[in-house]
Subunit: 391 residues, 4 copies
Amino acid sequence: MAASRDEVVERIAAFTIETQSWGYVSTGTRFKVFNTPGTPRTVHEKVDDAALVHSLTGVTPTVALHIPWDRTDYAALAKYAAEQGVRIGSISPNLFQDDDYHHGSFTNPDPAIRRKAVEASVECVGIMRETGSTQMSMWVADGTNYPGQGDFRRRRHWLLESLREVYQALDPDMSMLLEYKLFEPGFYHTDIADWGQSLLLCQELGDRAKVLVDLGHHALGVNIEHIVATLLDRDRLGGFDLNGKRYADDDLMVGSTNPYELFLIMAEIAAAANDDNAVVAGGAREVLFKIDQCAMVEEKLPAMLRSVEACQIAYAKALLIDREALLRAQTAGDVVGANSIVDSAFQTDVRPLLARARERLGARTDPLRAYLDSEAPARRAAERVGTPAGW
Amino acid sequence: MAASRDEVVERIAAFTIETQSWGYVSTGTRFKVFNTPGTPRTVHEKVDDAALVHSLTGVTPTVALHIPWDRTDYAALAKYAAEQGVRIGSISPNLFQDDDYHHGSFTNPDPAIRRKAVEASVECVGIMRETGSTQMSMWVADGTNYPGQGDFRRRRHWLLESLREVYQALDPDMSMLLEYKLFEPGFYHTDIADWGQSLLLCQELGDRAKVLVDLGHHALGVNIEHIVATLLDRDRLGGFDLNGKRYADDDLMVGSTNPYELFLIMAEIAAAANDDNAVVAGGAREVLFKIDQCAMVEEKLPAMLRSVEACQIAYAKALLIDREALLRAQTAGDVVGANSIVDSAFQTDVRPLLARARERLGARTDPLRAYLDSEAPARRAAERVGTPAGW
Amino acid sequence: MAASRDEVVERIAAFTIETQSWGYVSTGTRFKVFNTPGTPRTVHEKVDDAALVHSLTGVTPTVALHIPWDRTDYAALAKYAAEQGVRIGSISPNLFQDDDYHHGSFTNPDPAIRRKAVEASVECVGIMRETGSTQMSMWVADGTNYPGQGDFRRRRHWLLESLREVYQALDPDMSMLLEYKLFEPGFYHTDIADWGQSLLLCQELGDRAKVLVDLGHHALGVNIEHIVATLLDRDRLGGFDLNGKRYADDDLMVGSTNPYELFLIMAEIAAAANDDNAVVAGGAREVLFKIDQCAMVEEKLPAMLRSVEACQIAYAKALLIDREALLRAQTAGDVVGANSIVDSAFQTDVRPLLARARERLGARTDPLRAYLDSEAPARRAAERVGTPAGW
Amino acid sequence: MAASRDEVVERIAAFTIETQSWGYVSTGTRFKVFNTPGTPRTVHEKVDDAALVHSLTGVTPTVALHIPWDRTDYAALAKYAAEQGVRIGSISPNLFQDDDYHHGSFTNPDPAIRRKAVEASVECVGIMRETGSTQMSMWVADGTNYPGQGDFRRRRHWLLESLREVYQALDPDMSMLLEYKLFEPGFYHTDIADWGQSLLLCQELGDRAKVLVDLGHHALGVNIEHIVATLLDRDRLGGFDLNGKRYADDDLMVGSTNPYELFLIMAEIAAAANDDNAVVAGGAREVLFKIDQCAMVEEKLPAMLRSVEACQIAYAKALLIDREALLRAQTAGDVVGANSIVDSAFQTDVRPLLARARERLGARTDPLRAYLDSEAPARRAAERVGTPAGW
């Protein structure tokens, strides 16, 4: 049986999404960064934007930080965020923008640089304590551009040794979400290239190390929902970096390139949540849904609102799949029937259900429209004069 | 230091490759199978061809079988093979050509079909005993074509349960090599889609379950040599299905589409063999090098000879990499220098070294030329009248 | 302004799709062909199935033939089809299943084989006359598997010369739709690999040579709707081979892997139809919408009904795009706004509109349900005993 | 017959390659730009580096400029270059780094921006006159990130209109080389996405508009040498942007990811040069070989020297293909034989031939070694203090 309309409304209202501080700033390609009016200049303004998105949508209560992009007095920032109605979410150490990381961070042949990277990460554990964050979102950008540039196995040992030190610094209620990425900035190899590499490292680290799935980090054609199901099955799914991609790590708005794929991923989440209430709503199997996009040409606030809605649409449709009928069709070998059941959920227009969920949350029925019709766009543009924040 | 010329000759002479019985028969695409004169009609003629290739090259002492394609009196076949100068190598159960497998084998919703697939595999353990084979090469062709057609997690449990039963039937000196494949015949998902899926299952099965890397089974752009290095590091590399690919599982001659990639894969083997003599020449970490190609338009014997040579060329070049200089360049962050060391080995013409290795083995200096100049092509064509063997 | 609901209903009712005779037969992969009960044994039974689909959907009045798969008394077949309520649509010469085509058809180094291929194609012109068909759908399967196997430029000259002879044999009211395909059965190169290759040849042939876009024949990541728009702009879009793909030429049900892409392609058609009524409904810029799928594991009739519906859904949603608002957003550089307008159309549930269109056509409201609930499945299975037709 | 060793030496000595000013500066990814010591600060220092590469290799007599990156007194620069021993080569207008180009250049909905882009390009014609350049190398970076953001056909008309105005401003001895690129910075579509799009525009512009093939701008799996052969056949190959890629537009050292592909591309050039001496050495069918790489982590001068050598190696091997034997094998349908002939040339170590060609040119036998052993690296690092040039 599919969830009833009322259940869908309830679950959508309970389904929270994390926005990221660096999704509000000016970013672009290696060719050019275009600014848009109203871009935040400080971490406090980023938090303001995150709080605005939460007030409009009702489902984005946390904001992720990237250190040192968001360096500040963290305890004060946590207090400030709370005053705006949001909390600090996951914390990511940045291990790729210092000149020292020219030849890698955790896998650098120079032990002093590896030490520096470990310490920068351990510093983030302190920030997590100060801000009440329990999830370290770890992307290791290390890789090489040419055959011979690095020794795969030696680098792997350095990587594991470094990660282990960081992992052991975590408090018992903290977890490490370990990201993987096929390429960029390494164009020949990346040290954590796929979910298999990430999972192996997590196994070697411990139970609170889990795999983070960035929707833009796979080879073309890879079936992401199958990976998600497998990680759920082994209790190693830590969460998602949500965005849209067509070719590479395009970091576009969530669901904008292939909404059906997003729906199928959410279908795995919905199925697992069915079996085990804990997947989405918290507990040991909590999964982080973090947006990780870059608004390169478009307005950033609208882009974020669109992405939040895209996640909700996909999840709502996933909840509408009639799982009992699906199981029957699968068991009977009725291929077209099984697929039709999935498709029928996808064809449903769930926007009215979203509107009801928002109403229940006291949010705006149409967050994007509400934002555009408010004085916020003009106010942000007027107030935020000067250098916008970037990466 | 790179291996000396003499060492390279010695190692090339010791580097053995398995040819496969189904590489000698008529195969093609879904559109058409074209025959060529002299194609074997029986498993004995396939063994004859394998023995011919071994007599010409000196490095292909074993031939892989696929059951039931090669169904026969196995003890008698082993004896026949020995008389021709070769041995039976790995054994593959075929779990995809019976009508019963319409909706899968190990993951079929029908327990009777799963049972049948397990029994067909366990039967192969008996064949291994009869033929002296110690490696089961397992490709599970299961997958789905449409979202909803199967339940990923339920299928995974069936798969593991089935594999476990087969694994436990193995004798202590036998191992299971578990293949993965991105797609085909499943076009939406395959149950063992990548090395991560395969490795997870191997971990759950036991130490003698290892990953088999088919060079044509990856998404475009995936760095295969990095996977190989990781599996070597975790002692889970079981072996290779060697072939060439450009787009999909093209099953072309080995090295014919990207000889540099083959060289880089062999460079990981050579580096590991350096650290641990056992990798190539036998022992606990023995790695199987099995050719798995389909000659769709070309003559089959020449194609096989070309593939054997391509493996030897790649391996010989890999042995020529100056590993000490490479380590120095890597440590110094000398990117161009490190890459130049690798490239210099690749640029070397190693055919004279191959000729020396063949001389030492009592094989023909130029196996392809020797074959073409012999009476074998005409004799095979004349004798082998009637229906050629196929898949 | 988007089309009104009534206009959408009207346009959906006028939007016809061609089914293909080889979509009703047993097909599979190179590994195995699985049959399903009720598969046609003869071309007449294929026509029966096509007529059944038309009676259920009201929008598939023509059926494409492949020669010699469908060899018969063509005038009689045309009469028989008319009696069943359908017409013969496009005709495809098969240039890849004779042993003679081992090394190519139009590009074969042997002039006698090239002559044979030309004559087989010219024979199809006669069949077109006998059946009232006006479109030759031409797929040249030629290509190579290895570097050096063929000379690209010499092959191109032979190809052009051959095609020209076929083109010149066409009657003035006939057109040639020239397909392209990235790979398979050629795995190193195909002679007409992409739309650029096809277009160049069409330009050299004449105005009635147009490009045929098979949705499964592109490299991963390619933007098909952009190609479609470009061909429309140059008046060189001949039509579509409609199917679904994820990796290669998977020939799955239409829209089953990426319904959003299908919608975006239809959006280009809808936009062009807006400017120029003739695109869809006939006339000089008529575009052929031909299904070209293979039901490999699923029931064939249901699969065909699903594909027809998928096309209609995509086209109906495309018609709902508010083009005036879109133009305003584009002109204003409102990226999120423009994308939202497109997304809003996609989110709409158009199944009620389809039901209305079917009512108007006197077809079944839910063709798949109607088929499954009828006695047709059981009757087909009972009557069609014996060898099913295949490729 | 293959070219004799002496002919190869002669042709290698005559085969000139253009280096690009922006290949000497500090570039990186969107994540980080790492500097290396000795990076040029001015266009004059870029020319110094180009001249140094020419003095070491003897085959890079021209240097490409990008405007406005290289804005200066152009006549003076041309004089300065001549004094250093090099000339100004192709000129590229930069149409992607002004804020004005936020929503495109030639395809911008705002006619004032389109006008600006046209004028910036026409300005480059003046620079060409001042510097003696005859080739405009045109990359249009326009594209969109989201469905709906732009109207493909309207943009195409604006693009053609703009290009036409630039084309018509060219002097009769000048040509326009029109680049294509699958993606980046547009992640949903790019207006000139593939060679077909570029060729169509060139046809509409005139005979002196030709296609520029950047080796990193194709979808994965695309057969570039087939495109090159087709463009040669239609006399529309303008030239190359040479670099290495694995995944996206990685802009790595030439030949570093797939030297066999580079060789096969050069084989088409060599074959065409055989038929028509003019292809490489000048004249109507002159083809530009321009390096277009970014040294992101490696030393820039060594990287450029490696790339020049990689081109020479590939071309030398291509010249060694025995074309008469190849034709015989192709005609006989001897697939393995034909491929073996190509492979045999590739396996040859041509570095001794390169050394002879350099000797004849009065260049250094081993340019990279000569550079590293000279005082140039230290001198450049010592003199070039301050802000390095970048994009």
